[in-house]
Subunit: 403 residues, 4 copies
């Protein structure tokens, strides 16, 4: 029988952390005793608890402690984090400590230091006394990789005790039965608030934005300055330009809704034409593309990433075809965003979610409720979901933003 004393501080009751602590210990068939418990007596006071956790042997106890750590537990008498030297490029030592997307501190020389570039499913390397989050393939032989359990402190995002606005009233609920216009107003308020305070907004855009006829409205939102980073794939760029050149998307006429039965020619012709010109920018310079999302992004110098996938036709010259390069550039661009609005793409939304820290807010909008569930199941648990039709959501959002 082995035991360890751990501590938690914060709004641990109404953040659902304490129930999860008890659940975790019991699910793993460990045991516990609550040694101390001070509840915040008023709304603004944090609570504190000291718990003795027991496992049947060292390994059992460590398994439990590792999970509690992700809930914010710190070992009551903290030591510095242990490290091990990477013995090869591109992989961590076997008992590396995998990261979450939550804010994390590493104790180095008796001082808690925040991990830089936080991201889930990676590891922490200490560089010049600074802890940095690194994915496997960026590890170099000789790196000091954090291992074990000591000296690691995770601060899960606290649900505020004074819920306000969209993130307040949405938090406990993923039901589809919500007053849509009200939700859109709240999204608009959130975007305006971020821009007013100098914050940055990213957009993940799937081709549903174009099929549902909303790309012109999104282009106008970009034009208004609401988008600081744009994440999409080959198809979005092709269809955006197909629409601007031919008025169709995959052969569907966006103005009339009419399906042109064999309209794929326009799709492949668009790709071929851009390849012939050499780049989207040249198509803009030559006056072939005069509107649309790509037009706004490029003429306004807004950073965008077109990440390749095996579904791509072409792809366009701007598309990054190596997924490692796409991920590295996406991670870079995501670093200083305050909110990401994900619309109509499961692949790109899950990918972006994997690459970002939990502090960045996420609003995921899709007509399929399964998308939000999958995004949260894959670890982007901060995401709030709005189940609606992008074809009306984006135009109505634009109207609200213009008010």
């Amino acid at each position: 029988m082995r035991q360890e004393t751990i501590e938690f501080t914060g709004h641990i009751i109404d953040s659902m952390i304490l129930p999860k602590v008890f659940d975790t210990i019991m699910e793993d068939k460990g045991d516990f005793e609550v040694l101390e418990f001070k509840i915040g007596k008023k709304k603004t006071e944090p609570s504190y608890t000291k718990i003795l956790v027991k496992g049947k042997d060292n390994e059992h106890l460590n398994t439990i402690l590792q999970k509690l750590q992700k809930l914010g537990a710190i070992i009551a008498v903290p030591k510095d984090a242990e490290t091990e030297i990477a013995d090869m490029d591109g992989a961590a030592p076997e008992n590396f400590c995998p990261t979450t997307n939550q804010k994390t501190y590493i104790r180095i020389c008796r001082e808690w230091k925040e991990v830089k570039n936080q991201k889930m499913d990676a590891c922490v390397v200490i560089e010049n006394e600074i802890p940095v989050c690194k994915i496997f393939r960026h590890i170099k032989k000789g790196d000091k990789v954090v291992v074990g359990l000591e000296g690691i402190k995770i601060e899960p995002i606290e649900r505020s005790r004074e819920p306000m606005g969209l993130f307040g009233f949405m938090r406990s609920d993923t039901s589809t039965e919500k007053p849509t216009i009200t939700l859109i107003k709240e999204v608009a308020n959130e975007l305006k608030k971020i821009k007013k305070s100098g914050g940055k907004i990213g957009v993940v855009c799937g081709s549903a934005v174009i099929h549902t006829g909303a790309s012109r409205a999104l282009a106008e939102i970009i034009n208004l300055g609401y988008v600081d980073a744009f994440f999409a794939g080959n198809a979005v760029a092709v269809r955006d330009m197909e629409y601007e050149i031919y008025g169709t998307s995959l052969g569907v006429n966006i103005e009339t809704g009419k399906v042109e039965q064999y309209g794929y020619r326009k799709h492949t012709s668009t790709i071929n034409s851009i390849i012939r010109l050499g780049s989207i920018k040249k198509a803009i310079d030559k006056g072939i593309i005069k509107h649309g999302m790509m037009y706004e992004l490029i003429t306004k110098n807004i950073p965008y990433i077109l990440a390749g996938s095996i579904r791509d036709d072409g792809p366009l010259p701007e598309v990054i075809t190596d997924i490692r390069e796409s991920q590295d550039k996406m991670r870079e661009l995501l670093r200083d965003l305050d909110l990401v609005l994900m619309m109509g793409s499961l692949l790109h939304s899950v990918a972006v979610g994997n690459l970002m820290k939990a502090e960045t807010k996420v609003i995921c909008v899709d007509i399929d409720p399964a998308i939000v569930i999958k995004l949260r199941d894959r670890g982007t648990s901060q995401a709030i979901g709005i189940v609606t039709d992008l074809g009306t959501f984006i135009p109505v959002l634009l109207e609200e933003l213009k008010k």
Copy 2:
């Protein structure tokens, strides 16, 4: 080996009727020979074909002929329809001819006469030389019920050769990837066109209309005179009034979107209050209900049916609790409608679909694509489906109607 000669006339190729004829014969392992075929050489000309159908015995041939009849086949040398006298109340003779929802003619005294009150899954009774569609429980002992195969002609709705507007470009496709705003404009045009020509519009309304915050917009559409008949259940009326009294629907605040966790009190209180007053009308007269869908319907004397279901709390005094009575009243109200707009209710949409003729146009709007599929699977094959969020669809439709 038995055989029969049948004829088809009309746009039988581009209405997909001919392929279905061949399919039907082959699926049933019958045989056929095309005796004559005159194709319409220009767009406006109908085609004609005479086909010899073969079955292995009388029963086999009749099974095939019965199916072909539903596609519009008439037996080349027509006889008058056979009838049999009903031997009991509430049921037809065993070999009655079940109806479709398509326009049907019965040959009586060498004359083709159109069946009145057409509806699917019922039977035809001849009353004073007039064929009338009757459901089983309206059959009386002694009624002359049409049986067998002779003297019956069905005219399936023809797809026009000059497709226009919503019903034109939607017909071949149920994909969700459609430009939504364009679709809404087309729906608005369709509604305006019907009203301009003196036609009548019915609305089937589920509680999603209220949850998604769209009931005030629908109330305004009713106020503008676009709704001539309203089909809903207890829940819709309760929640509409809960919203007007308390600002909530099942405890969700429609203006702020906030969930009041134990807001069911307002739901049950609304029901209790109306029961205490005796009727919705009295609540309006007393000034308790001043807006909303029920308010508009009642103050404007627009016919509505609140059909009861086993899910109902209460129910309200206006709710019809016997399903047979509901069906009879619904069928009555449906008879002279030109278009039914179905929104947010599978139960009521399928029920209304069962009770109406195929000539009445149907637009079914729901965020769940399965709803439209089920509606069509259940026989309302004329329905076109729009997969979108009612919370934005109805407000945007209102704006279009006001233009």
Copy 3:
């Protein structure tokens, strides 16, 4: 400023009750102070807390208290419940206390007494010192109806601290990504356990059971004695018999999967034939129906309810056409069930959920994840959902039950 002291006892932390208490107070903009807090130091010990709740006036405080009551709060210095005499048949006095589906106690003559026939969205009447749950239309003028907040204690179902079996590992999660065969084994174990201990099982059956070809397997489960009550509608009985007579369901051949394009004749003929015979039982007696679910239910004298809906063709003689009568009989039959297995029907599942107490376990199986979400949204929060195909679920469950 008004205040009241309340108490909670039990596993209030890991049952998520305490966080909900704080949420509720804050969402309603009330204030609170934690006066006492004793946490269960070991797994098996309950916790206790005493909280001072503050509202800005009497009404505000009462609104909050009412919600806290549903979480299990009792007012620290309890008084007997207040009652008011019903002034009319069929409705409660305006400030009646609406019920939840949770176990509830009423304080009568200083004694806490459990409410009989508990059900959500109804009211409590005291009859001979015994509190009984009554729906509005069963209230008679002169009944003593419980009103106000005093003397009411609700005991929400506690999540056990030692999670086991299906209800253990499913509780926190509605994700569709679960090992299906494992889940089916757990359902089988649960059903066997209930039967072994003399418990009773109900089944809600929608027509998907028949379309997906699983009705013969469900009939065999009935035959094995696993079903004590059966809830369905007209369509299920018709299609079950259509399958037994013709081998089809709505014209789809269940053995070959082939769609008989105009197979509706068999559906309407089945209805007509049963009406002609007078009852399903007579069809069994005459040897027309020799297998299937209805056959097993009737020959084994298992109670079943076919509740009518406005979608019904016919309906069959056994169908209850008045929804009030259906509800009363369903409530009666539900009273002593230990578990209800809901399969393939949203309408009947929500209806059954509305009529039952929260102690009865609910397993809801459907291929559409939205069904479970809607069931829980409508208040049947004890339901656990399994997202799978009934066409394989039921046959595999049968195999497990036979083991």
Copy 4:
């Protein structure tokens, strides 16, 4: 006014081709006259028609003819195909003729020759008098690319007049209401038939196969020799091995169904371990992986492709990170498959669909009906869809294959 005479031969009525021809002309506001029409008088006889098509000018006529060509039209007096010399690497001349996935013939020196490596959205290059399908990036400066409309003949897959088995009864319908066990038996028969005749079967596998607990059953199907090519991504391989090493998939215990709340460690550890070893094969050689899908594929030398995506953690050494390389290898592997069974992955299914010819049969199995719809919308119109739970589908299929 310009006109051209075209011809069609085959089962053009029951293959729905003729109605589409008329639709296409009318949608494009062209005109037509039927010059000749010979209908196949018996089941086995093909039909023939000669149609005069009219457009308002040359461009209008050509647009229509191009679409008719995809339906199988050939210009009545055929000429050889025109070609143009590619003026740059990686792109086609502007008026190249984009391909479909249907069997296509090019007229070269008065002889119709079948295009090799057929695939949609590419172009045709003539190499040594042989027409070959090439994607843009494989075009080299100087290639002879087919342009214009002359000398091109497309043979759309004909629906057989004698429908049998799975592909027979499924063809006209995508409804979810199908007898599942019957469908699974038909799939098993289809797979057995292909293997018996020496054909080849491919499998597209998404991670739902593992989450739903079906990976061991699929591994056994591979072991039985039913899989000749395997298409998946990084996640499938990682989770397959995580299951074999730890018994979990993304931290869900597959045997007990229990969610290990912070089980992601096992996912990342699996990746890191394989990277450290250098390859999956080495993990097998060292006895770390002893069962599972990857084990069967590698020990049996069955070709597999793990195509990278931006969602990937790691990725594993075997994963192809450049999407162009993935596509090239996938196309190679797809070339001689007779049937592809797609299970649980939208991304990989659409990608595979894009890369293959229409003659290869496709069965797509998913619990989400939207997947099949999207697959068909993207051009893989030969796909038939089965909406069921992979967690039961695969084990039941295995049982059927073993019979």
